[in-house]
């Protein structure tokens, strides 16, 4: 009898413990919100290979592309993809690069990013829902031009490779925002239709496994 009780407790205790834990993802990868990864690998963004591309319509004609280089920050993501990547990324306006120094300076000026007062853009994810394997819809807060707004960012884990310091993980994220929501209105109505309101951001991230100290 004692043997039976001990044996059943060996089965029951792990079962009860497992039942008491919140499920890390819904069955069949359905869109269940996840706020914290179960087992998160700490990754540090590699600024050399992390950048944000932005796209905006110019004079109601072409789609103009620019980029902000050297993104910094961190990502917490379990390599088994059991939870959404928790991204904290910072883009400094001084690293803006359109291929034209004049245009870069114009964008850094007070009519656009106003770098003197708002030197960086930051994104911090707060949760996410699974879209497919290694594909997440992240929710988080985007701080731009002194305004913080919640946004939904489409994020794909592009691959897991090997870098000089350990594992290297790639992410590609996309989000479309209205810059007027962040108080950047120059060129939308005044001067009229000089630049579009919608800005598409394509963010390429490479993150390295953080070495234990």
């Amino acid at each position: 009898m004692r043997t039976l009780i001990v044996a059943s407790s060996f089965i029951a205790v792990p079962f009860l413990v497992a039942m008491s834990r919140p499920m890390s993802s819904a069955p069949f990868g359905a869109a269940a919100p996840i706020t914290q990864p179960a087992v998160a690998g700490e990754l540090t963004l590699d600024p050399v290979h992390s950048m944000a591309l932005f796209r905006i319509q110019h004079l109601e004609a072409g789609q103009f592309w620019g980029r902000i280089n050297a993104l910094s920050g961190s990502v917490a993501w379990p390599m088994d993809d059991s939870a959404a990547p928790m991204i904290k990324a910072v883009a400094e306006i001084k690293h803006i690069d359109t291929g034209s120094e004049k245009l870069d300076n114009n964008l850094k000026g007070p009519n656009f990013f106003n770098e003197k007062e708002f030197p960086s853009i930051s994104f911090s994810s707060t949760g996410g829902t699974r879209v497919a394997e290694r594909h997440w819809m992240l929710s988080g807060d985007l701080s731009l031009h002194g305004v913080t707004k919640p946004v939904q960012v489409d994020c794909v884990v592009t691959g897991v490779g090997k870098g000089p310091t350990g594992k290297k993980v790639g992410f590609e994220c996309m989000v479309t925002i209205k810059r007027s929501d962040f108080g950047m209105t120059w060129g939308i109505e005044k001067p009229p239709k000089a630049l579009g309101d919608e800005v598409r951001l394509v963010i390429g991230l490479e993150a390295d496994e953080t070495k234990a100290e």
Binding site: K108, G109, N114, K116, E117, P191, P192
Partner: protein, 347 residues
């Protein structure tokens, strides 16, 4: 696209300019219509209106370009409408006051110090430090006193035109510093001042003609100088002379705008460019007294305005030239590859 841009410029540039010009012009017209008896009172009212004409143009342009800004400020340069409104109120009050028991330079210094002190305390831009803030106070006092001295000597048309040139010059520097919005606002002030100068000039000429006609209609007294009969007409044609308070208000606004442009500068505009343009009316003082005494008013205006314009143009050409030189150097640098340079060196 073109009609929309034209409509935009009409809205943010010409509309505020007309607003400022209309306010200032209204005062001058009122004086011209007044009978001699109560003209003095009308002149004093018109001088108050004159002090607020340019600030009204700036505020209208800011409102149309940027929209209303509430408190607390979201961006530091949004302090400008508040600063300009305070300067206009101080200028208007100071224009009404007469303190005959103090020398002229003491009165002007007090107005300049009040405006400078308010700016020093409340107008703070990015990267401000105690030295820069003290520099703002000092520049408002210095430029205010100089502009007041110029206003005391130059006629109303000349002063308005010189101030218009300064604000137009500041507008170009703003654009070169990649601050287009503030450039448009400075242009609106310049256009309002230029319009005010033209209105003053036309009315002055009309007044002079009227006085000449009245003088020629009267019989010349025995022993009187026929040439001297025309002189009162020339003197009286100055309908609304600039007050030191109005000149100091304009100088304070110009200094605050220049510091704002400097604080947000992403171009090749150097502090010297702002300083030279702010001080350009001072060069008018160099030619005002000895050589122009006795000259026709139009000659005096042409000399002063022309000299101010030359100083501003030379500064702007220097600023634009510097920008182009840096751009050329930048293009050259973009074409070179540091890696290739290293390989070349290693050969």
């Amino acid at each position: 696209m073109l009609p929309e841009v034209a409509l935009y410029l009409l809205t943010v540039l010409l509309l505020p300019a007309f607003a400022g010009m209309a306010v200032g012009g209204f005062g001058v017209v009122m004086v011209a219509r007044r009978a001699q008896a109560d003209r003095q009172q009308a002149v004093r009212r018109a001088q108050v209106v004159q002090a607020i004409a340019a600030p009204i143009a700036f505020l209208a342009s800011f409102l149309l370009e940027t929209g209303p800004v509430g408190l607390p400020l979201t961006e530091r340069w949004h302090v400008l409408p508040y600063a300009v409104a305070v300067a206009a109120i101080v200028g208007a009050i100071a224009s009404r006051m007469r303190l005959p028991w103090w020398p002229w330079w003491v009165q002007w210094s007090i107005v300049a110090a009040i405006l400078g002190g308010l700016a020093w305390k409340f107008v703070v831009f990015p990267a401000s430090n105690p030295y820069l803030q003290a520099g703002l106070l000092g520049s408002i006092v210095l430029v205010g006193l100089l502009w007041s001295a110029v206003a005391r000597d130059a006629c109303s048309v000349g002063m308005a035109m010189m101030a218009a040139i300064v604000f137009a010059g500041l507008g170009v520097l703003m654009v070169l510093a990649n601050f287009a919005s503030l450039g448009v606002m400075a242009f609106a002030v310049a256009a309002a001042l230029a319009g005010l100068g033209i209105v003053s000039g036309v009315l002055n000429l009309r007044e002079a003609a009227r006085l000449r006609a009245a003088a020629s209609a009267q019989p010349v007294a025995v022993g009187a100088d026929p040439a001297g009969a025309a002189c009162p007409a020339e003197a009286a044609c100055e309908l609304v002379p600039w007050t030191a308070a109005a000149a100091t208000t304009l100088a304070a606004i110009a200094c605050v705008l220049a510091l704002c442009g400097h604080a947000y500068n992403y171009g090749e505009v150097r502090p010297l460019h702002w300083a030279v343009i702010l001080l350009s009316p001072f060069f008018a003082l160099l030619v005002c007294k000895p050589c122009l005494r006795g000259a026709k008013p139009i000659v005096g205006v042409a000399w002063r305005v022309g000299l101010c314009l030359v100083v501003v143009l030379v500064t702007l050409i220097n600023a634009v030239g510097r920008g182009n030189a840096v751009e050329d150097a930048g293009e050259g640098a973009a074409g070179s590859d540091p890696m290739m340079d290293m390989l070349e060196e290693s050969k």
